[in-house]
């Protein structure tokens, strides 16, 4: 079943076409990777899919409902969560508190119930705390729960951000370079984590430069180059695709 369908998304910045009529689908229960050289338009596309940026044209449907034009909060609440290339954690809060914030996507907004310590507000807090602890265990970083996010090593920060995104109860998780800054051991652990997340019923779309990781985890890969889609398919096919090889090696002409 198609969970996310991206159709002809185009985004221009002045004269530069950052994303050029890109279309692809993400199927439920799979891990899809989005790759391409620097400046290929991956992060811009991510922002378009999550309400952080509005494309000039094209449409995105998530679970049959349009995404473009909705606020980031609305997008998250509909079940589409993301992480950032530069982790956006709350440094003065503990890892656990960071993840608890993710639970707010589906909680009330008012100050009054909290100010008056109403029973349902207290229950909400307990639920958020329990859920955050569970997610830290799922990701395998529960020993860091009480450390301030600002004091965490880079690799753990990425994992906390994934846990925080999971706390919003997403059906689709968009990861922006989750392996950047990780050492080989951490990357291997990340692969296992991604499989655990997928097995927990969350579909994943991942932007990543680490080709080893991409080839290992993805069911399908989309390749972007200079804003346009140049290839799409399973890892084995992508590895042999001449256009992809050219884009990565920088060849001018491709002939078989």
């Amino acid at each position: 079943m198609t969970l996310l369908s991206v159709r002809e998304i185009t985004r221009r910045f002045g004269g530069l076409v950052a994303v050029d009529a890109v279309s692809f689908d993400v199927h439920q229960g799979t891990i899809k990777a989005l790759i391409g050289p620097n400046g290929a338009g991956k992060s811009t596309l991510f922002n378009s899919l999550t309400g952080f940026d509005r494309p000039d044209s094209g449409s995105v449907e998530f679970d049959g409902r349009p995404v473009i034009g909705r606020s980031p909060r609305d997008v998250v609440r509909s079940g589409l969560a993301r992480t950032f290339q530069n982790t956006q954690l709350f440094d003065s809060m503990s890892a656990l508190e960071n993840v608890m914030v993710g639970a707010q996507a589906h909680q009330g907004e008012g100050f009054l119930p909290a100010a008056l310590r109403m029973p349902h507000a207290a229950a909400e807090d307990r639920d958020a705390s329990a859920e955050a602890s569970r997610l830290l265990r799922l990701i395998g970083i529960d020993e860091w729960g009480h450390t301030l996010a600002g004091d965490l090593p880079a690799g753990i920060r990425r994992l906390v951000e994934i846990a925080r995104a999971l706390a919003t109860s997403p059906r689709l998780l968009l990861l922006d370079e989750p392996a950047a800054g990780l050492n080989p051991t951490e990357t291997t652990e990340l692969v296992q984590t991604l499989f655990r997340v997928r097995d927990a019923g969350v579909t994943i779309l991942v932007v990543e430069h680490d080709m080893g990781l991409v080839m290992e985890v993805s069911d399908e890969i989309v390749v972007l180059d200079r804003g346009a889609k140049i290839a799409e398919g399973p890892p084995r096919m992508i590895q042999k695709d001449p256009a992809v090889v050219a884009a990565y090696l920088g060849e001018e002409d491709v002939d078989d």
């Binding site: 909680q107 958020a128 925080r164």
Partner: protein
């Protein structure tokens, strides 16, 4: 610090503040301690808005003035019961907060500071120029004492208790907020607006609510001031006062209520040092008063340079947490 030690300190401070008027009989000193409470009401709101949510306001004296003039006008010209006047004062200030929240949705940092500064200046101008309503530069006098039904609250002791009861209520509400979901939402907003949005935090709602609540606390303080002192004038609600309130919150430290409250007490009492310490010579007292703004300024510089996390941060560091 264990929860019990913390609770013991809180209870100790509350008891101390509650019995203070029984020990201190001096009318002037009681008035000074009442002013500490009135400032504390404003600064608790700023601690939420600035210390937790990270939104700067250089216009909070405007909200204090809105509360003061609204309640004074209703009490003197419309002759409405005191409780209604106070509630209306807080409500009108809250509406002002709603208005000021709108630029905060688009502006950040220095730009937001400028917008709020402009709001404060506009309010001072309005208090001075809207003479038929506010009495202009001559001020608004003859504001009756607080009264609940037939019972008039007018002795220094009673007024002290009234103010500190309000402070206790405000601090309790604020502490409940900071300890739960909205508190985390405010800190998240402060830490990373992008991260907060991606976590599904309603950042518009959080900003608006923080502005409205802190404005309501300031308005309440103003309304209480008007009925306690009986006279208000535009010179009370200037940008200088706004800066002082913000200075107290900065010196107190972010993500803390206790730090800013301590800073309020220290900085407010500083101005009345000669009354507090009978041994202090008159000239020293005068000197301190004359250089009060400079002392605040130096204190802020010292905090920014040597203890960017404020009094609360110093305490946390010493505790090794």
């Amino acid at each position: 610090m264990s929860r019990y030690a913390r609770r013991a300190i809180v209870i100790g401070v509350v008891v101390l503040l509650a019995v203070l008027p029984l020990v201190v009989q001096d009318r002037f000193l009681l008035k000074v301690f009442t002013f500490v409470g009135l400032n504390a009401l404003v600064v608790v709101g700023i601690a939420l808005l600035f210390g937790y949510a990270g939104q700067v306001s250089l216009g909070h004296a405007g909200f204090v003035g809105l509360g003061a003039y609204t309640s004074a006008f209703l009490a003197v010209r419309v002759e409405v019961p005191w409780l209604v006047c106070v509630a209306a004062g807080a409500l009108v200030a809250a509406l002002g907060g709603l208005v000021l929240a709108i630029p905060s949705l688009r502006l950040k940092g220095h730009y937001l500071a400028m917008a709020t500064l402009g709001f404060g200046e506009l309010m001072t101008l309005a208090f001075r120029e809207a003479e038929p309503v506010t009495g202009g530069v001559n001020g608004f006098s003859g504001i009756p004492f607080p009264a609940i039904g037939e019972f008039v609250i007018k002795t220094p002791q009673q007024l002290y208790w009234l103010v500190w009861f309000s402070v206790a209520a405000a601090v309790l509400l604020a502490a409940n907020i900071t300890a739960s979901r909205p508190g985390r939402a405010m800190r998240a907003l402060h830490g990373s607006e992008l991260g907060a949005q991606a976590s599904g935090v309603d950042i518009v709602g959080v900003k608006v609510r923080a502005f409205v609540l802190s404005a309501a606390f300031a308005g309440l303080s103003g309304a209480l001031y008007a009925s306690i002192v009986g006279f208000i004038s535009p010179s009370l609600f200037t940008t200088a006062a706004s800066v002082t309130f913000l200075a107290m919150a900065v010196i107190g430290g972010s993500t803390s209520l206790a730090g800013p409250l301590l800073a309020v007490a220290l900085l407010t009492l500083l101005g009345y040092l000669d009354a507090l310490l009978p041994g202090l010579s008159g000239t020293t007292g005068e000197l301190i008063q004359r250089f009060q703004a400079d002392i605040y300024g130096l204190a802020i510089i010292a905090v920014v340079l040597f203890a960017p996390t404020g009094l609360a941060g110093l305490w946390r560091t010493r505790r090794g947490t």
